[in-house]
Amino acid sequence: MSSVRLLVGTRKGAFVITSDGKREDWKISGPHFAGWEMYHLKGSPADPNRIYASQSNSWFGQIIQRSNDGGQTWEPVGNKFAYDGVPGTHQWYDGTPHPWEFKRVWHLEPSLTDPDTVYAGIEDAALFRSTDAGANWTELSGLRGHGTGPHWQPGAGGMCLHTIILSPTDPQRIIIAISSAGAFRSDDGGNTWRPINQGLRSEHIPDPTAEVGHCVHHIAMHPSRPSTLYMQKHWDVMRSDNSGDTWHEVSGNLPTDFGFAIDVHAHEPETIYVVPIKSDSEHFPLDGQLRVYRSRTGGNDWEPLTKGLPQSDCYVNVLRDAMAVDTLDTCGIYFGTTGGQVYASSNAGDSWFPIARDLPAVLSVEVQTLA
């Protein structure tokens, strides 16, 4: 019988939450790595027992953990992320040059085919790859070195590479996103890169249509239609149908188009989900009502999903990596909040229920659908 396993990263540890395919009864295991910030955990699509986790804190720096048994036991692996060559500088908040400095790993993306290959998106923004199960990490420095790197600037949360999408049909294609530089694509396995931000418009930067400088919050893709990308930008929900070559806005009737998380239904490539947040200075839902919005038309026409979600006095946030979908027949959707709740829907968002209420602030949620 099928089952699902959620990998939840929080401000003070990681939790593994499991259920059978009915998704009615849930078991919480954890905290793993208690007291540490767990920015992201993700399982290998090629071997679900292989899980990678990013563990860090201000005292002891960065650790990468690896599990070979589905999260029951863990071992620390390589934590040395050395920029390739002389790192050079990017723009600091005040516009002065600032040297690239490693701070933490925001996102881990295991290869679609090889459990020992995994990508890491780090702050200050760079992309690393390990081909030995996390023991050693090598920068794909063509990203920082393609030309615009010295002009990148951190957002309020730091200059982080937070989104990594591996194409399921073209093993050479990688799409990444950086706050607040924008989206970038490689078509040669990560050797060379170019910005893919045409069509984005950001009023808070000097040139609203600049080649780089856009605060992209997250990008999602459906594996059956890899040329279609959905983006939650700082403000604006965007769509591309040519792998990011051009984008157009699909915010439509959303009550606010600020937000962090965005995801796609597992079986319907035109059904997408966002969690609108009031504004960049008020990181909580509009009117204290926690609402997921669903579009069944690939954007523009959105409906609020409220059943089972708090509709008064709710002032949590949902961060960029804190939403995930399972691949069971009736698609399950999950998201975590900065208030420590993890909500689940086993009917594609029609109704929701909490599967955890009082965890530390949730930083990330991933789900594995297990045979």
Binding site: N57, W59, G61, I63, N79, K80
Partner: protein
């Protein structure tokens, strides 16, 4: 070269990370300094590499301190000889995590 048996106490998070129970005892040959102690510690417990000193700068992480014989020696040279009591193992080398930060 003299062989020393040096005692080291670690913060709880680092003991958990390296799967250490209680105090660590390290055999170190030659001068006993901050650097030789942390070098020996990282060699014995590779999981601690980068957690006490930055991988690249080899600087002590800012929220950690080194205490010996009731003195904070964090800002002294990493190559300065430590007191005889540390080299003899009668006093431990303490690696302390800052209590600030919540």
């Amino acid at each position: 070269m003299n062989q020393h048996q040096v005692r080291v106490e670690l913060p709880a998070h680092l003991r958990t990370l390296a799967k250490i129970t209680g105090e660590v005892s390290l055999e170190i040959e030659g001068p006993i300094t901050q650097r030789t102690i942390v070098d020996a510690l990282e060699a014995r417990y590779p999981a601690l590499s980068g957690t006490i000193r930055d991988h690249y700068t080899q600087q002590r992480r800012p929220f950690l301190r080194f205490f010996v014989c009731e003195q904070d020696i964090s800002h002294e040279s990493p190559d300065a000889p430590l007191p005889e009591a540390i080299a003899r193992g009668t006093e431990p080398f303490l690696i302390i995590g800052a209590t600030a930060g919540g």
